[in-house]
């Protein structure tokens, strides 16, 4: 089987036996891959700190039947500041999980890799409120994987929504006006302020969102809505979600 070169970001590392670790990687050209890093837990491993989560690298991998094998790794960006600040680490991990859970193995959506690169670079710098950055990231990833949140008009009657209380139709992928939402099975009430913030998070670029500041309450509401929205399209729940919300509530 072939050896290939890819730019990749380490999403996650699982222990395998005494010395090895399995990595979950998002690659620029081949989507989500799982690869084993042999001997990485030994102190003298040639990989050293090169394969820690958040690291962006040029990797040489050997293709395997179930798992690839990491042959060589060079750091492009270590994203060290994400490991030196607890909030950055926590919100960053939530982003990594979002990417891992929105792709099936070998599925490739190149813009997802680019979105993660850009967002991690921004998260590393000055960010007013990382919770808003995470909420925006979740919404944008949904859009990239084919579930663009529809936040302008009622999904059911098509009426344009402005400044009123609505519900998020979690199965439909958008909002429903008050009269259309009563029959919905899976819905989440959304205030006009929350809806307007969600629209901004979906449409503004990440650098702009990084400068945004909102009240603690508004930012938490946006994050909860984004979590609920994205979870309705993912097969698996987001495990970081509880930890993130707990952290926000303890502040």
């Amino acid at each position: 089987m072939a050896t290939y070169k890819e730019e990749a970001i380490v999403l996650r590392a699982y222990d395998l036996g005494e010395a090895d670790r399995i990595l979950s990687l998002i690659t620029a050209g081949r989507g989500l891959r799982r690869a084993v890093a042999k001997g990485i837990k030994r102190t003298r491993s040639k990989f050293g700190g090169r394969l820690e989560p958040f690291t962006r690298l040029h990797a040489v991998l050997h293709e395997g039947r179930n798992l690839d094998t990491v042959v060589q790794a060079e750091i492009v960006r270590s994203h060290a500041p994400l490991r030196a600040d607890f909030a950055k680490f926590l919100f960053g991990e939530a982003m990594l999980e979002m990417i891992e859970k929105s792709l099936h193995e070998d599925q490739n959506i190149p813009r997802l890799f680019d979105a993660l690169c850009v967002t991690l670079d921004i998260l590393e710098g000055d960010v007013e409120d990382p919770a808003l950055l995470l909420a925006a990231f979740e919404l944008k990833v949904c859009a990239l994987i084919g579930y663009h949140p529809r936040l302008d008009r009622c999904l059911h009657c098509g009426r344009k929504i402005e400044g009123e209380r609505v519900c998020m139709d979690l199965c439909g992928g958008g909002i429903a006006c008050d009269s259309c939402s009563s029959s919905l099975e899976s819905r989440l009430a959304v205030s006009p302020e929350n809806l307007s913030l969600m629209r901004s998070l979906l449409n503004e670029d990440m650098a702009t969102i990084a400068k945004r500041g909102e009240s603690h309450r508004a930012s938490r509401d946006a994050l909860v809505t984004a979590f609920r929205f994205s979870e309705s399209f993912l097969d698996r729940p987001l495990k970081t979600r509880q930890v993130v919300l707990h952290y926000l509530d303890s502040r």
Binding site: K46, G48, G49, A80, E93, K239, H246
Partner: protein, 198 residues
């Protein structure tokens, strides 16, 4: 699989052990059937005895045989110096150095949001309690130098600083016997940051 039920059950139980796959479980099962009966019984007894008699130390959460572990009961050790580790087996590693004469605190893991493990899942509240009650002067955070261990260390430092206790982190850097040329930039960067006066 065509084993008689007792063998099938043994294979199934063994394959639940960490790092043991189906094939290894079969090999272990056949080995256990081949060895003398008293050897097999002695293994079974050891498992049961360990499970029944080993508890967790109520102060540091290390394994113990009663209320407190051996380290917490040792009056020659310095109770104002506490080394925080992820798991009880990490204590063994620190003890082997012979360099540490304080007490320990076992967190029960590291913060790993992606696995759903937040600070509440670890013995962090209990550590803060100890700091307040036992007059601890210094906390040495010896979590693993990987992303989860680092995040846990930072989280602890943020909590400990306002309490006026000194919080230190074990240095990480180049492996002894290694070569500078082959070091990755993360490891070398940390080694530089944690440099010492000569």
């Amino acid at each position: 699989m065509l084993y008689t039920p007792p063998i099938a059950r043994l294979v199934e139980e063994l394959s639940k052990l960490p790092g043991v796959g189906q094939k290894t479980a079969q090999r272990l099962a056949f080995h256990l059937l081949k060895i003398p009966g008293e050897e097999a019984r002695s293994l079974a007894d050891a498992i049961i005895e360990a499970r029944e008699r080993v508890t967790f130390c109520s102060r540091c959460f290390n394994f113990a045989q009663g209320e407190l572990c051996d380290y917490c009961m040792d009056s020659r050790r310095d109770p104002t110096l506490v080394c925080v580790v992820e798991r009880p087996q990490d204590i063994v590693a620190v003890e082997r150095t012979g360099e540490f004469r304080g007490l320990y605190h076992v967190l029960g893991g590291a913060i790993s949001p992606i696995d759903g493990i937040g600070p509440e899942e670890l013995k962090i509240r209990e550590l803060l309690e100890r700091v307040r009650k036992d007059g601890v002067r210094e906390i040495i955070v010896a979590t693993n130098p990987r992303v989860e261990g680092e995040a846990t260390a930072i989280y602890l430092a943020d909590l400990l600083k306002p309490l006026g206790v000194r919080a230190t982190r074990i240095a990480s850097g180049l492996p002894v016997g290694g070569d500078l040329e082959y070091a990755d930039e993360v490891t070398l960067g940390r080694a530089l940051k944690g440099r010492l006066d000569l």
